[in-house]
């Protein structure tokens, strides 16, 4: 049914396209966005979509882009599956002829999708992909999210300084690009700080049983457990650790996957004391951030998270690039994107020559208390 409708629509569009010039001056500039809108990892994708929507309202209320054209996004759901993300990218580039793609949500998906966009010379920009090596895929691959390699060392250094952590156990998901890359970053940062790693344990992305790994870790009496996991697994790990009677002195230190209010909602008290570094925090007091938080709450009746904030900034960056490019043209957008500099809700932003974010001064270390994150004091 859906397929038939789509074929019908495409045919109509083709007929219409034959008769009229393709780009009316008032026609909106439509970009593609591939995010996880269903399934367990929609916890990341849905806030990103909302961040985009809020930014769209803001950009279009201020007059849109390229002399008054509205900016619009066509969302595609990847459901967290690489294959579906790849299909979405092919459809957006081939069928919808979008000049740029935002997303996908996970680094694993990005590694599958970015080569396609890069090959077709369509710029693609990750707002939440923090694994190493993303932008190395090619000159059309950008990201606005600070890579783990910039955030994790800040967290570990703070933990070492504040709690005197000397020996840790490492636990990571070994079948996901993001959690694996997070693990490598953690290992490197621990070595650099001179913190001893007592044991390295792993699990699978769909695992729900962490008891054997945690029983082993507990018997080694580490000062902290450093974990690279997405939020569902992270919550499961914290719940299991408390069920096993890990004392509260053993801190859990997480990567970016921990950085979601969902962690507190799922794990509750079990998450207390967990440390995580974040490129953004809801309680940051600057006016731009306060405006963003207020508007987000008003529109969606819930608190924004880091992913929404990063998406919000990213779309402003992209809008500036489209505006500067002066046309909905992939090459021109790619050229102007690299030059954008902007003060967003996540702090000052500019790209490095390698299309990664240049500035990590906005990183804050957070501690979970009573189910919500606070700035570590």
């Amino acid at each position: 049914m859906n397929g038939l409708k789509r074929v019908g629509l495409t045919a109509l569009t083709l007929i219409a396209a034959a008769g009229t010039p393709r780009a009316e001056p008032t026609e909106p500039v439509t970009l593609g966005a591939i995010e996880i809108l269903t399934g367990p990892a929609s916890r990341y994708g849905v806030p990103i979509m909302k961040g985009f929507q809020l930014a769209l309202d803001d950009i279009n209320a201020k007059g849109g882009v390229i002399g008054g054209r509205k900016l619009a996004l066509q969302f595609e759901d990847s459901a967290g599956a690489k294959e579906q993300a790849v299909n979405a990218a092919r459809a957006l580039i081939g069928r919808d002829k979008v000049p740029m793609i935002l997303g996908p949500t996970l680094s694993t998906e990005m590694f599958a999708v970015a080569p396609i966009a890069n090959e077709r010379h369509v710029p693609i920009l990750g707002t939440s992909t923090t694994a190493n090596g993303i932008t190395a895929i090619g000159p059309y691959v950008f990201r606005t999210s600070l890579p783990e390699a910039d955030v994790v060392p800040v967290t570990l250094r703070a933990a070492q300084k504040k709690f005197g952590i000397k020996k840790v156990a490492l636990l990571y998901g070994n079948d996901d690009a993001f959690t694996k890359s997070g693990f490598e970053v953690m290992k490197a940062a621990l070595d650099k700080l001179g913190i001893e790693t007592l044991a390295t344990e792993s699990f699978g992305a769909k695992d729900t049983d962490f008891s054997a790994q945690l029983t082993k870790i507990k018997s080694l009496h580490p000062d902290a457990v450093v974990v690279s996991a997405l939020v569902e697994a992270a919550s499961g790990i914290l719940l299991e650790a408390r069920a096993q009677g890990f004392p509260p002195e053993i801190r859990f230190i997480g990567g970016n996957g921990f950085n979601s209010p969902v962690l507190g909602q799922i794990a509750g008290e079990a998450a207390d004391g967990t440390l995580v570094g974040s490129p953004w925090f809801i309680g940051k007091a600057d006016p731009a951030n306060r405006k963003f938080v207020d508007e987000y709450r008003a529109k969606f009746k819930e608190d924004p998270d880091q992913f929404a904030a990063q998406a919000y900034d990213a779309l402003h960056i992209v809008a500036a690039a489209v505006d500067a490019a002066g046309a909905a043209d992939p090459e021109k957008i790619a050229q102007s994107l690299i030059k954008v500099k902007l003060d967003g809700v996540t702090g000052p932003f500019a790209f490095t020559d390698n299309r990664d974010p240049a500035d990590s001064s906005g990183v804050v270390v957070l501690e979970m208390k009573g189910g919500t994150f606070r700035i570590l004091e």
Partner: protein, 292 residues
């Protein structure tokens, strides 16, 4: 640590055994490999979750309610899917295909209705942990042991000591002769379906509690383990399923604890292949319910 890992393994193994028990009972008596069995596992967990969320936050009611509901669901599905095939004396492959289709449909319906998000029981449902001599056993783990003990004991008593049990064993041994001797096959089939569904549902609740992660497809992964357990134990062999379930639980935990956590899920299948090579009738080389 070894003792703690062994204890954890035995407890996980107990849920595998409980799950496999219903599966093997179904096969032993009804002579069908009923693939809808995994659905009862998921349904049990989801029903108990809904119960604790909406009716009363206590497992002592939620667990029996879930077992009862999945038992009835199993009776209903069996009657709906297999009655015709049984009457026509269709080959085993026919029932396998019918239940496979039904299973895919049921998972899809559950997913459409509930999504694939992981859900969790409210915290603190199963009481607090006890620690003694360096060993720690959580409230959930105690509940698993007690429930498994009661259900396995109850099932064995029923099969060995009651008239209904005699009828079940008779039907498993020789359906034709049993019916000639006045065994009401319809009633026995319904009861076995009920017991199997209830066992599967109970296992679902307990695993859902133990790992604190419930979602519609949880039964699918469990079915693979269930298959391994009943083949290792011997198809239709209740004692075998019990031993194989416990064995698999312990080996999985030891693999994760001492070898590599990634190899954990491979253990069951390695054991399965070895069993099929070396003892194709299962560990104990006997294969019907009458040995219960």
């Amino acid at each position: 640590m070894l003792a703690q890992q062994m204890l954890n393994g035995l407890i996980v193994g107990a849920t595998y055994a409980l799950f496999a028990l219903g599966f093997t009972l179904m096969f032993g008596v009804l002579r069908v490999i009923n693939l809808t069995y995994g659905v009862y596992f998921s349904a049990g967990a989801l029903i108990a979750l809904a119960f604790t969320r909406n009716i009363a936050p206590t497992l002592w009611l939620a667990l029996p309610a879930a077992a009862l509901a999945t038992g009835l669901l199993a009776v209903l599905l069996d009657a709906l899917l297999l009655t015709r095939l049984r009457r026509a004396q269709a080959p085993e492959l026919a029932s396998l295909m019918v239940t496979l289709g039904a299973t895919l449909l049921l998972y899809a319906v559950m997913t459409a209705a509930l999504g694939t998000e992981i859900r969790r029981f409210p915290p603190g449902l199963a009481g607090t942990a006890i620690e003694a001599g360096g060993l720690r056993i959580s409230g959930t783990q105690m509940l698993i042991l007690i429930t498994t003990f009661i259900m396995v004991g109850g099932l064995l008593y029923l099969l060995r000591r009651t008239r209904l049990g005699l009828a079940i064993r008779a039907l498993a041994e020789n359906p034709g002769a049993a019916q000639m001797m006045g065994v009401d096959a319809g009633r026995v089939v319904a009861f076995v379906s009920f017991a199997s569904g209830a066992l599967g549902g109970t296992a679902g609740v307990l695993i859902g509690l133990n790992y604190n992660a419930i979602q519609p497809y949880m039964g699918e992964a469990m079915m693979l383990k269930g298959f391994a357990v009943i083949i290792i134990g011997g198809l239709g062999d209740i004692g075998g399923a019990l031993v194989a379930g416990l064995l698999l639980g312990v080996l999985e935990v030891l693999t994760a604890g001492y070898l590599a956590s990634t190899l954990k899920d491979a253990v069951g299948f390695v054991l399965l292949v070895l069993t099929l090579w070396l003892r194709p009738d299962g560990l104990f080389g006997r294969s019907t319910i009458r040995r219960a």
